[in-house]
Symmetry: C2
Subunit: 241 residues, 2 copies
């Protein structure tokens, strides 16, 4: 049976991406290419982070840095009263290596953006896990087999009731002191570290697919060169010649 039109289209798109990848390669230093090749197979979308309306850019920035360092590709930002904002002195440029999705509410109510984000994550097959000091289940007992997104709330109030209601599950990081909570960037780091450490030594298929890796590699190459837009334009011009 001859390949369908859709199959041929997909194959053509993949070939174009491969060509684009090859074209970009010539503009990257060897060192950067090696770094990309080293990081790519360690990257995961099996676990992600969603932040509900954080207001300190220092926290958001530290979280982006941690996500990149632990190989977690996706950070979802629900913006209510506070907009996504990055302090580069703290994030060390990590934002550009991540996929940051933003959910905004036009009329300045957090709720809609929260719902939009959580529903979108569920549609992508994620189990949404709220982090709360009042949860019963400790972090370390959370199964790693499910595609999981950890949900974190504002610095002072924590998650909204709506977010907790919409979540599929909740966990707590065990605490033994007088303070009632961790700093939010510390909470994120502990959740991701605990989950990814167990994940990486498991047999769960946590890596990106071949196609996801190719797409992300092209994104990272774009980020690694100056005038990426111009380079890409030239590539397509040469292709249609």
């Amino acid at each position: 049976m001859a390949p369908s039109l859709l199959q041929r289209k997909k194959k053509m798109e993949k070939n174009i991406k491969k060509e684009l990848h090859r074209y970009f390669s010539q503009f990257l230093t060897k060192k950067r290419q090696e770094k990309i090749k080293k990081n790519l197979p360690k990257r995961t979308r099996h676990v992600a982070v969603a932040l509900e309306d954080l207001y300190q850019s220092g926290n958001t920035s530290a979280i982006l840095r941690t996500a990149d360092a632990l190989g977690v590709q996706d950070v979802h930002c629900i913006e209510g009263r506070n907009q996504f904002d990055v302090n580069n002195g703290i994030s060390l440029g990590s934002a550009k290596w991540l996929t940051v999705d933003r959910y905004r509410t036009e009329n300045n109510q957090t709720n809609n953006a929260t719902q939009e984000c959580i529903e979108s994550l569920k549609n992508q097959g994620y189990k949404v896990v709220a982090t709360s000091p009042h949860a019963v289940k400790p972090l370390s007992s959370l199964p790693i087999e499910d595609k999981t997104v950890f949900l974190f709330g504002t610095e002072d109030q924590g998650l909204t009731e709506q977010a907790i209601d919409l979540a599929d599950d909740s966990v707590e990081i065990p605490m033994y002191g007088f303070v009632e909570s961790f700093n939010v960037s510390v909470s994120v780091a502990l959740c991701l570290y605990d989950f990814t450490t167990r994940l990486r030594s498991s047999s769960v298929a946590w890596q990106l697919t071949e196609e996801e890796q190719l797409e992300l590699e092209i994104d990272w190459m774009r980020n690694s060169v100056e005038n990426a837009d111009a380079i890409e334009r030239r590539f397509f011009e040469e292709m249609v010649k």
Copy 2:
């Protein structure tokens, strides 16, 4: 054989502490007493933290909060160019539940304070472990049987060469991203979480001794009441009557 003078002195001191403990109890709310009773058996000195010359009080504060939350009692601060400073909005008052030891150098050189701190820790039986992105051993493989202090350096430069040389061992937190390091307060949290989680589920004797618990409980009671000094004075006055 009759008890020696030293034995009798020790016993008397212990009894005084017990009496003082009883005396303080009447000034504490039931809720606070319960919190203290709950936290005390979870507290450990088997693992500690030493910070070399951090300059952002926000980081120091987040670290104190994390140490308290994870039940780690001792934080050692080596002060070189920067003095120990706490931002209470971030630490949430955690400093007063911890034992914070400070090491200063009179003539503004970091080195002496570093040496003084590390030698003191070694004399207390600690294995001093430097954290470094260039270490070979991953955090999770560090044995929990040894009394361990984790050593962390400044936000931009990391540990001094002297600190690394004086340390007994070094570990790295595995990283898979483009950034070369974690935020220092994140590094501390990950090291303490990894170590204490393994420690608490082990058979290692990580708890405070009965006497350490009694002393710490009195300290915590002092922190829990207003005019603790006056209360203590009155106690001794009544005792010698």
